[in-house]
Amino acid sequence: MTDFSLETIRKGDKLALSRVLSRVEADHEAGRAALDALFPFTGSAHKIGITGAPGSGKSSLVNALAHHLRRAFPDARVAIIAVDPTSPFTGGAILGDRVRMPDLQNDPGIFIRSMATRGALGGLADATLALSQVFDAAGYEYIIIETVGAGQAEVDIVNLAHTTIVVDTPGMGDDIQTIKAGILEIADILVVNKADLPGADQTYRNLAAMIEMGYRGTGRINGGHHRSANAPTDRPEETRGWVPPVLKTTAVTAQGIADLMNAILQHQTYLRATNAWHEKENAAMQLIVNKLVLEELSNNWKQNLAPGLYESVLRALRQREISPRAAARALLAYNSK
């Protein structure tokens, strides 16, 4: 490791930071070593996830929000990780989120990094979490993570972000869409963006009604994941859990952005004041370590596989001599000898 030093990154050297981000993203040995060295310095940033359908205005919302955060807290630096999809056919990608962030280009306290998914599903890239850790260790107080344009099941962001914002827009479907499982139920804050368009009030009412249903009733329609210990009751004043607010914004004119920032700060306070922060951290750590264990196991297994075994088992499988499960067991059992 020649041109990387922990000190330079923590002092705010952007070139050093940028290069470490690349190494970490590439998952090379040097990147892994950097991540190991930086890890003790992580844990203080507040990570904000922004997700929603393609074209719902996520990038514009990030632009307005980061701009607002910087004006409200001039000493706090803001990092932005913007994820766009990799082409499954060519491996290439157009990363175009910067186009929507003109207000942030000349601000020395903002660092925008674009990422391609590189084959990962779930709305993020495999290395998004690792990149957020680098920014965290580098002293960025707020890290905003913008997912790819998400549909109904790209919910990985919830495992990474402390505060997840789901962006909806007018005209995206009737109220039955709001009670489906998936992306809406991961929201800590719901935003109706493009609120100047016709139908915004209807969308707002649908979302508000969904929240009402999930949090006032006895059911757990809306995401037990926030409040595993606090099931909702009929009496909201006794519910200590977080009820996601529904907000209207028009990102391009910054309408409603102050309210959005305040909601984020309130959620941050709520997480810190209750056990929820630790629960989130705990869940995130489990996921990280489980993923790494599986990776290592899988690599070890591949390295120790007897030559030709895989092919012969596959042949037996093709000829229906053994079942897929028996094949897997055969591969693992031989391997352990």
Partner: protein, 134 residues
């Protein structure tokens, strides 16, 4: 992910609003498997260099049709160097008079492409230039 992805910044410095050429190149590089960061219209040299720095790109492509290349390109090159990005492959596309080309190449622009350039040539030039990198 063992193969290092080539990261390219495509930017339009200055005031002309014609970004079709920039978008065609961005698309061609994407189809060649590169990661292309597109920054949009009316970028200052400062903004372009800052974006190149934050994105840690290997390549910067500038599209200029306004005639202001002799004013803008040197500033971009200078700011890239100021930021420590000395090894970035910078290419230029657009309407560049023949007589201006030697001067721009001497400043450090690696390739200059005019109208009608086959996009495959651009991809090949980039891959050839970066081939000897780690």
């Amino acid at each position: 992910m063992s193969e290092k992805k080539i990261r390219v910044l495509i930017a339009k410095p200055g005031l002309d609003g014609h970004d079709r050429g920039a978008k065609v190149i961005a698309r061609a590089l994407r189809d060649d498997g590169m990661e292309v960061i597109y920054t949009g219209l009316r970028q200052t040299p400062q903004m372009i260099a800052e974006a190149a720095l934050q994105e840690d790109v290997d390549v910067v492509g500038l599209s200029i049709l306004s005639g202001a290349h002799n004013a803008l390109v040197p500033q971009v090159l200078e700011k890239l160097k100021e930021n420590g990005q000395n090894d970035v492959f910078v290419f230029l596309g657009g309407i560049i008079p023949e007589s201006d080309i030697p001067g721009l190449l001497a400043l450090g622009v690696k390739k200059i492409y005019g109208p009608g350039t086959d996009t495959r040539v651009v991809c090949e030039d980039i891959r050839a230039a970066l081939a000897d990198r780690a």
